[in-house]
C-alpha cells in the first residue's frame, strides 16, 4: 500500500494515543494558546493605534506644513501663506465653499476619567472648510460651534477618555472658558481624540496673532496631488512642504506602532521560546513513550518517513488547537477594547480600539504552527533515526 496510506494509518494511531495522554497534551495546547493570545493581543494594540491614525485619511487629502517641520506642532504659517495655499490648483470645492482649512493646534491638559491624572489633548482651531476636508466628520450629539464664540465640539474618543467633556459643560483652560456644544465622530479616526473650535477664537486666546500652523485641503482627485505640490513648492511666496494625509498619518503613527509591535514581538518571542520547549518536551515524551510501538510498526514493514510525518502532524494538531484557542481568546478579550495612549510624535493622547484583524489571527496561527513544526521535528527525526533493533530493546 502506498506511502500516503501509511501516513494516514500511523497518524491515526498517534492521534488516538494522544487522547490517552490528555494531561501533557492539554498542557502543551494551553501553553501555545497563551503565547498566541499574548502575541495577538499586543499586536492588536499597534494595529488599532495605526488604524485610528490612518482610517480617516483619504488619498485625495493633503496637509501643508512649513518646510522643515515634521509635525503640526513644529509648523507655523502666516495668514498670507495660507491664502496662497488655498488658491493653489486642484483644491476641491464643496457645497459650502473651498475644501481648505488653515488650522492651529494647541495642547491642553485634562484629567483622564479613569485615573484622574492629567494628559495632553489637542485643541484644534479650524476654519469652515475643515468640514469640507474631513467629510466623514459627523456631529452625533448637540450642534456645531458657532464662529466667533468660545464654543467647542469634542471628539467621541476624547469625550469618553477625559473628564469634563460632556455636552453642555464648560471647560476652563487657563484664562478661557469653553462651552461644549457638540460631540462628533470621525469613523474612529484620529480627529475623535481632539477638541475643535473656531480658529478665529483660538488665535487670540493663545496670542497667536494672525498665524496658523497647518493647512488641510481636499483635492479634486488623488491625481491632482503632483500639480498642487509642484505649484506650492515652486512658488517663491511660500516655503512649505506638501504631504498626502495618508503618508503623514502613517508617519505620525510609526514610532508608537513600531514600538508596540516591537514590544509585542519581543514578549511573544520570549514566551514562544517557553512554549516551544513545552511542545518539544511533550513531543519527545509522546515519541519516547511510543518508541517501542513505532519500532514495532517499522519492524512490520512501515517506513520511517510516515513515522516522521505522523509525529509532525501530531505536533501540528496540538499547535493548531493552541493557536485556535489563543486567537479566539485574544479576539474575544481584546477586539474593540478601548484605550488611549500618548502619541509622542504629536505629544497628545490618541483614543483607539484594539484591533484583532484577520491578518493578526493568521499571524497568530502561523506562529503556533512554527512552534508545532519545530517542536515536532526533532522528536520525529529521533524516532526515525533510531535503529529498529535498538528501539525494540527500549521499554
Amino acid at each position: 500500500m502506498n506511502w500516503l496510506v501509511q501516513v494516514v494509518e500511523v497518524t491515526g494511531f498517534a492521534l488516538q494515543t494522544l487522547l490517552t495522554r490528555k494531561g501533557a497534551s492539554a498542557a502543551t495546547v494551553i501553553g501555545i494558546a497563551g503565547v498566541v493570545a499574548v502575541l495577538v493581543g499586543v499586536l492588536s494594540i499597534g494595529q488599532g493605534f495605526r488604524k485610528a491614525m490612518t482610517v480617516s485619511a483619504t488619498p485625495d487629502s493633503v496637509i501643508v506644513l512649513r518646510s522643515g517641520a515634521d509635525s503640526e506642532m513644529m509648523s507655523g504659517l502666516s495668514r498670507d501663506e495660507t491664502r496662497v495655499i488655498a488658491d493653489a490648483p486642484g483644491v476641491a470645492r464643496g457645497a459650502s465653499g473651498a475644501a481648505v482649512s488653515a488650522e492651529l493646534f494647541v495642547v491642553i491638559d485634562l484629567p483622564k476619567r479613569s485615573t484622574g491624572t492629567d494628559a495632553n489633548v489637542p485643541l484644534r482651531g479650524v476654519e469652515a472648510g475643515a468640514f469640507e476636508v474631513r467629510r466623514n466628520l459627523e456631529i452625533v450629539q448637540g450642534r456645531n460651534f458657532e464662529p466667533g464664540k468660545n464654543e467647542v465640539i469634542v471628539g467621541a474618543g476624547a469625550a469618553v477618555e477625559f473628564a469634563g467633556l460632556d455636552l453642555g459643560k464648560t471647560l476652563r483652560v487657563g484664562q478661557n472658558d469653553w462651552l461644549v456644544v457638540g460631540i462628533f465622530t470621525a469613523e474612529g479616526g484620529i480627529a475623535e481624540s481632539e477638541i475643535w473650535t473656531d480658529a478665529g477664537v483660538l488665535q487670540p486666546a493663545y496670542r497667536r496673532e494672525d498665524s496658523f500652523q497647518v493647512v488641510y485641503a481636499r483635492l479634486t482627485s488623488p491625481e491632482a496631488f503632483d500639480a498642487f505640490k509642484d505649484a506650492l513648492t515652486t512658488d517663491p511666496r511660500v516655503n512649505v512642504k506638501v504631504l498626502r494625509q495618508t503618508d503623514y498619518y502613517a508617519d505620525q503613527s510609526s514610532t508608537v506602532y513600531n514600538m508596540i509591535t516591537g514590544l509585542g514581538t519581543l514578549i511573544a518571542s520570549l514566551m514562544g521560546l517557553g512554549a516551544l520547549f513545552g511542545a518539544l518536551n511533550t513531543m519527545y515524551t509522546a515519541v519516547s513513550s511510543r518508541t517501542r510501538e513505532i519500532a514495532t510498526l517499522r519492524a512490520l514493514g512501515f517506513r520511517a518517513s510516515p513515522v516522521v510525518f505522523s509525529v509532525m502532524i501530531e505536533s501540528m494538531v496540538l499547535a493548531f488547537l493552541g493557536g485556535g484557542i489563543g486567537s479566539a481568546g485574544a479576539y474575544f478579550a481584546f477586539d474593540g477594547f478601548r484605550a488611549a495612549t500618548m502619541n509622542w510624535q504629536s505629544f497628545s493622547q490618541v483614543a483607539f480600539a484594539f484591533e484583532v484583524s484577520p491578518s493578526l489571527l493568521l499571524q497568530g496561527m502561523l506562529y503556533a504552527a512554527g512552534i508545532g513544526l519545530v517542536g515536532g521535528l526533532f522528536p520525529a527525526i529521533r524516532a526515525a533515526r533510531l535503529p529498529i533493533s535498538v528501539a525494540l530493546r527500549e521499554l
Binding site: L300, G301, S389, L392
Partner: protein
Amino acid sequence: MSNDVLVHVRNVEKRFRRGSEDIHVLSGLSLEVPRGEFLALMGPSGSGKTTLLNLIGGLDRPTGGSVEIEGERIDGFSDRKLAAWRARHVGLVFQMYNLLPVLTAERNVDLPLLLTHLSRQERRRHVEAALAVVGLSHRARHFPRQMSGGEQQRVGIARAIVTDPTLLLCDEPTGDLDRKAGDEILDLLQVLNREQGKTIVMVTHDPHASARASRTVHLNKGQLSTEAVP
C-alpha cells in the same frame, strides 16, 4: 536438497561500538535453516540470540558475512527495500507481544495487511482466518488491555502469520508467560510448523520450549554449537 535451505547465514560478524569499545557479538557464525524446520536457538543472556534473529529478519545488517533468505542476499538491501522485504517475507513474534494498545485485536492483526494491495474485504477475510487459527475469533473486538498475556501473544502470532510469510521469527515468545499459557503458545507454533509448513526460528531460554523444536542450536561466545556449553 540444498535448494531447500531457506535461511543461509554465512560467516556473519556483528560488532557494536559502545563508546571507544568494540563489542564482538557474533564472530564468523554460519547457520543453515532448511525449509519447514522448527529451530530453537538457545544460549545465555547477552550471547547474541536477538542480534542473530534480527539479522535473519532483516531488522539489522551484519558488519561482515552474508545473510541469504530464499536465495536472496538481504544484507545489502537499503532500509526502504528491507522494510518492504520484511513486510512480505517474515512474521515477527515478540516476547512482550508489542501490540498497539489503542487498537483492537483485529486491527492489530490487520496492520501488516495495510502494507499490501489487498482490498478491505480480502483483508477482513485474512484477519478472520488468522484469528481463527489462534483460537481468538471471539475476542476480535477486544483491546490488548482486556486480554491475558497468553491471549495477547496469540494475537501477536495471528499478526505474524496474517500475511502468510514463509519464515516465522519468535524472540522468547513464552518468556513472559506462565507454564500453561506458554504451553498453549508452543502448541500453536508446533501446529503452524507441522500443518502449515511454516519455517520457525525461536529464541528461548527454556529447555521445556526448545524440546518442542525439531532442532536446537546453542549460541555461545559468538559461535554456534549443537551442544549447550556448561
